[in-house]
Amino acid sequence: MSESNGCAMRYSGFRVIKEALTGHRGWGPAWRDPEPQPSYDYVIIGGGGHGLATAYYLARHFGKKRIAVLEKGWIGGGNVGRNTTIIRSNYLLDGNEPFYEYSLKLWEGLEQELNYNAMVSQRGILNLYHNDAQRDAFVRRGNAMILSGADAELLSVEQIRARYPFLDFANARFPIRGGLAQHRGGTVRHDAVAWGYARGADSHGVDIIQNCEVTGFRIENGVCKGVETSRGYIGAGKVASCVAGSSSRVMALAGMRLPIESHVLQAFVSEGLKPLLPGVITFGAGHFYCSQSDKGGLVFGGDIDGYNSYAQRGNLPTVEDVCESGMALIPALGRARLLRMWGGVMDMSMDGSPIIDRTHVDGLYFNGGWCYGGFKATPASGMAYAHLLATDTPHETATAYRFDRFRRGLMIDEKGMGAQPNLH
């Protein structure tokens, strides 16, 4: 494993101009493509956003060496490259809100930290409400956010109309009565997050090994010694699973059953349009959220399909439901053509909140259960998981994300739905 390498070129405006004038011949690959070593101190399974962020913080902030990320396909091919890119910290419960606010703060410094343009755009997120009870619930949530150091503002219909004049304010069934805004929320270029963390981790000596599927664990006397992979056995001091929708499949290889079901979530992009939607908006009467990408496409989604699935594609009834919700909020949406739609496999947990914890096997750690909200968590998840791996104690913002919370009745159930993953 090399400590330094030729890939770690600094990006800057000057560099862009210089390369433009010299035929772009000076750009090197952003990370190496190393052969796996026989063993590492830390093996992270899964080259999604969370796995790469974990490797980066482990190397950069905890000074650890001999780290590998094993990815069965290519980095960014999982949910980190499939999500609708929304970041926010508008949670209610104590177990969650400090963690997500910490994540948002890490997003705010991410590009400087990584020297990488991840297109972090704090264009604001607005959750609309449609009746008095919902207003009261949103006020409460806004107050909880402020108590955790986040920003929240209740907006009137007039304030919303000034920014989003085209919404169906007078909808007969679900009139818009106001909204809860978090101005520091927004969007981030999703695959740039994977690439930025990969480049950062690589430049601190992490081996990112693609096309390397973990197919088993070597566990002796309750201690995890390493992993079997499609590229041979790799020994490890500590093994950290971080495979999102594949969590149950991978942990089953270690004989574990998880409080998780895998479900498919779909997303949609319209044809490119002129600037229309300045921020992220969510409908309060159905499940629908929408933003406009910098290329002009309206990016939107809604509910998960609702049944166990590993198919990475959904079915038409959900497409219809999402589009109906969209039309109820933005009638003009009906004039735009849908360009693309796809699905990702979500690790839906039993209370809708994640797990970052040790397992009963020594040296084997787990990070998962992100449901459809793990993109915004990427920086804090990486930091908290690195903290756990490096110190064997939870990060101060992630103390509630334990396996035993179900046994102890300490569920973190934002919506109060109970142990029914498809309702979170």
Partner: protein, 95 residues
């Protein structure tokens, strides 16, 4: 998806609500030893397989019967549909 209801024939999956793994039929005995552990596992842990999955669907806007559907979670193909009542009885459950 089309679910071939044993009594009503082919029905759109939209008529159903989904509960989850059919092992939920096997409710633990609350008087058994380690009942707390068993209820924890029953309530919260799932096999969550990629491939064949036996699962409970409720015909909410139909005849309100519970079905056990065997479906492949990688392809969404449904290979068998039984009345949950029959499945429960065949496992020795009386009600």
């Amino acid at each position: 998806m089309i679910i071939h209801h044993p009594l009503l024939g082919p029905r759109d999956a939209q008529e159903f609500t989904y509960l989850g793994d059919a092992s939920l039929i096997d409710r633990p005995d609350w008087q058994a030893e380690h009942a707390v552990d068993r209820f924890h596992d029953y309530l919260y842990l799932r096999d969550n397989p990629a491939g064949e999955h036996r699962e409970l669907w409720f015909h909410e806007v139909g005849d309100r019967s519970w079905l056990v559907v065997t479906r492949n979670t990688l392809t969404h193909e449904i290979t068998s549909v039984e009345l949950a009542r029959d499945v429960a009885r065949s496992r020795g459950r009386s009600k």
